[in-house]
Every structure is written in C-alpha cells, then in structure tokens.
Point group: C2
Chain length 292, copies 2
Amino acid sequence: MLDPVSRVRRFNRAVTSAVGALDHSFLGRGRPLGAARVLNAIGHGRSDVAEIRDYLGLDSGLMSRLLRSLEDEGVVETSAHEDDARRRVARLSRTGRREFAAYEALSNKQAEGFLAGHSQAEALLAAMDLIASALTRERIALDEMDPQGDEARYCLGEYYAELGRRFKQGFDVSLSRDPDAKDMRRPRGSFIVAMSDTLPIGCVGLKGTDHGYAEIKRLWVAPSARGLGLGKRLMEAAEDAARTLGIALLRLDTNSALPEAGRLYRSTGWREIPRFNDDPYPDLFFEKQIRS
Amino acid sequence: MLDPVSRVRRFNRAVTSAVGALDHSFLGRGRPLGAARVLNAIGHGRSDVAEIRDYLGLDSGLMSRLLRSLEDEGVVETSAHEDDARRRVARLSRTGRREFAAYEALSNKQAEGFLAGHSQAEALLAAMDLIASALTRERIALDEMDPQGDEARYCLGEYYAELGRRFKQGFDVSLSRDPDAKDMRRPRGSFIVAMSDTLPIGCVGLKGTDHGYAEIKRLWVAPSARGLGLGKRLMEAAEDAARTLGIALLRLDTNSALPEAGRLYRSTGWREIPRFNDDPYPDLFFEKQIRS
DNA sequence: AGATATATCTGACTAAAGTCAGGTATATGC
DNA sequence: GCATATACCTGACTTTAGTCAGATATATCT
C-alpha cells in the first residue's frame, strides 16, 4: 500500500471521480457534454474553430455539427476569419455569455467546495500547483515577453519575495542594481517567461550592457515547478536569445544562499570569475562564452 | 492568476487531460471503456455484480449487458452467489487475467511516467496523497480492525516513526508501555483504522484495563490527511466503541511536543489530570467521563 | 403458504459520440 | 492561371452509453 505506483494510482482514482462529478454537473444545464465543452472553450477565449477542434480532439465533422447546434441555440455566433475566408471564428452571443457564466459558476463552486472544510487550504493549493506543473510539464511554453508586462511583474514579485525569505539580511530591490526594462527588451536584451497553462511559473532576463557582454538576471522557478529541469530550459532559452542578438559572452551574479542556482551554473559550462560589479547582494560571479 | 479558485481550476484542467489520456490508452485494447471498467473492477477484487454496478454507477440493464459481452468474449465467468441464488458473482478467466494485467500495465506505466523525469518524486507523492485524501474525505471509512493486522501495523509503524521525529529524545517502543493487542480487541477494547480507498490514513486504539476505565492509545492521523477533522472523528468512534463496551471513564496520556493532540483533547471535553502511570514519554494526562 | 422484496435479465428505445467519404469555397505555390 | 492544399460542411452510418418497462427466479417476512 506504499509503493509509489499505487500512491499515484490512488490519486488517479480520487481525481477521476472528482472530474466525473464536474462533468455530471455540466449536464445539468441541458446540453450534451460535447457541446458544453465547445461553448466553454469559446468562453475561455479560443475563437479559431480549428484551434478548438485541436484542443478538444474532435473530428472536423463532429466539431462542425456541435458548433451548428450551438448556433441554432443562439449561444454562439460565427463569422469568417478576417485574413482567411476558409477559416471560421466563433464567439459567444449575449445569451452565450450568460450560459458560459453559469458553467463558470459551477466550476468555481466545485473548486470552492474542494477548499472548504479543509483547515490547511494553503498546503492543499501548493500540492495542486505542484501536481499541475508536473502534469503539464510537456506543455510548458517559454515565451519572450515584455519585462514590464503582467506575467513578468508577477514573476519578479515572487522572485524578490523569495530572495527576502532566503537571504539572512532580507532583500530590498532598491538597494540592488535593478536592471532597466529597456535593457531586457530587443534589441538590447530579452525577457523570457515560462507559462504553464495560464500561470507564469518561471522567468529569466537577458540584460544587454555596453561592455561587450550581456548579463543573465532574475532567473526564477516557482516552487511548484522545481524538479522539472525548468531552470536549465530557461537558461538555454536565454543563451539562444543571446545568440540571435549576436552576443558571445555572458555574465551573471548570484548568492551562495541559493545553492541550487550555483549547481546549475557550474554544471552547464559557467566558470566562476572575480566580482565584476558592486551590487551588495551577490557573492558569486560567473561567466560563460557561448558558441553560435 | 493567483486566487485559490483559479489555482484549483488549473489543477482540474491538468488532471482532466491526464485522466482522459489514460482512458484513451485503455481504448487501445479494443474494448469499449464501459466494458474495460467492469473488467478492471472485477480484476481489483470486486466480485459481486451489485457491488460493481454500484461502484461504477451503472444501470442494471447496462451492467447486465456489459457483463454478458465480457462473458461472450471469454474474459469473465459468472456463477450464482453461494448464499443467495438471485445474486451473481463474477471472476476473471485465464484470458481475463491476462487482459486485466495488460490494463494494469498501462496504468502502472502512466503512473511511472508521471514520476519519471521529476527529480523530487517524494514531494510529488506527498502532494498526491494530500489531494487524494482531501478529495475522498467523504468516503473515509472508520473500521474496527485487528490491532495486529496489516493495516494496523502499518499505522503503528508510521506513528512510532513520527514520534521518533517529534520527540527531542526520539522514541523507542520497547521503553514505552506498549499495549497488549488483546486489550485492544473486543471484548476488552477496540482498534479502529481510518481507510481512504485502500490506504490506511489514521488509527486509534481503545485499551481495556482492570481499573474501571479504558485508555485511548495510538491516535494517529497520516500527514496527508491532516486538516480534515479526522482526529476528532477517530476519537468519537473510540468513544462510541467504549460506550458499546459499557465503559464510562476514559483516560489517555500524551506529550506536549504534540500540541495539536492536546488542543483536540481540550476542545472535546477532556480535562487534565495528574500523572496516572510511569511511562517515560508522556507529560500530559487527561480524563473524560462519557455519557451513554 | 402467500405476499412482498430483491437481483438480474431481456427487449425496445433514445441520445450522444465518433467515423468516413465526399463536397464547396478559398488560399497558395509555381 | 492552374494544380494543389486547406478549412469547413454535409450526409450516411456505426458504436457506445444510457433509460425504462416488464419478465423471471429466488429470498424473506408474517
């Protein structure tokens, strides 16, 4: 009753029945599950018919009919795609939005029901984040984003909070050499966010300088996403970005209070160098020559 | 992107697609999902047709037909129930066992795939245990069991291990007043195990004495099941058992290194009394008068 | 022994999901 | 401009799931 595989399978059984219960509650709105799924996909912002079909794994004939039934019902409207008249674009009508809201309410209610009655909701949420990240690890997307966008700001906030927890003396951004957003945008640099579904779970910045090298800054991986090799993927993405920008030499600074970061750098071709800036926080400095 | 409900829903999406993938892999064996589920239920030891029907939520007509199709296929054999000729009992044939093993292999493979490639498998498993316990909390069954059975021994092992971690001086059962199993069996006492699915997740012992009272011993709740109010339920079950045994006075000892236990006792009608034994580990002693 | 309850089975349906082979309109490559 | 590819639609069909009303055999209660 203890081996890892049976623990995973106990989890599977528990979760299968919970998922089934939600599906069942969806049927209560008088629409078959297939149609409900399409409506919800549209409600969640998927407008392109082919995209929905792909997301839900539907045959094109079936998709077409489901869409038609939703149109006949008056909850969905379709039109030709702006740039390509073969493609169709779907959106919710006014009543469609109302129906979608009702499904959302059902989903939210079951989510709340799950949390209610558990006195350690935060532990439960952390466990769910961990599992969701692990399950979707193949679909974690690394996207170049604006360093001042919502996703980036969220990651940086979490990053600073974590440094505050892990540095004995705490962490105050204003005392650190906070990189200028402009230096982490093309053409000087880059900022990459790892997205799992709709949740940012990691980031890294490539900061251009005028000294013949670029710096890696703000490498962060959400606690729930650790153990998936995401740090390494982010660093590789940053190096790729550097290559496309014609940068051949990278530097970074870090702190010995973050041993997993140091291990990552040492194991991926970085070599330690003397201090190259006067930031008060870092105590370790690395450099890597990258081949194009 | 941070509120609890959307975190739960992200988890739901991740898990729904994983569950769907497993179902899909089951279809690869050329049998509809409904029939595959019945076959697997039988393989997992459910033999009574009514029990399977109840477990899978099937209509009796549908169940009958699925069973028939499995029989025609030669994977399942049925016979009348020994004690009640109306009921049917199903079991796997030789080829049925082979098919079941193939489904098991698929399930195990996906479970292993989930764990593989994650460098912190133990954290992942702990998270899954936590969620599985929370999801199945309505179905946690409290069963009176033999204090020397597998389930009880597993619980006690975990209990001792936890005391070893939490007591500064460690914990050695042989130094403690280890209750005689006989005293925790009817008619002198009782031993109750909380089962979630097939996993023991908590226990409590009621130990009869010759001094006009019984003792509560070995109250344990698995880390993954904390926060669900299981400790309280176990204590209530122990008190109920005491009532059926005609016991009116209960005592217990505990240690201040287990503050959550002390809180539970104080909030449920127990009052502190002076030391009533010479066990070296406890430093707190309680008593409760129970009404029948 | 007779009334009633229970467990399963059968027949007759319906609804939902899924498959497949064309068909139409539009886009793209040369 | 023509061949080819793409995106979606339609018709015809099959399979799976699920429902419901009896029928049959057996058990249980009084």
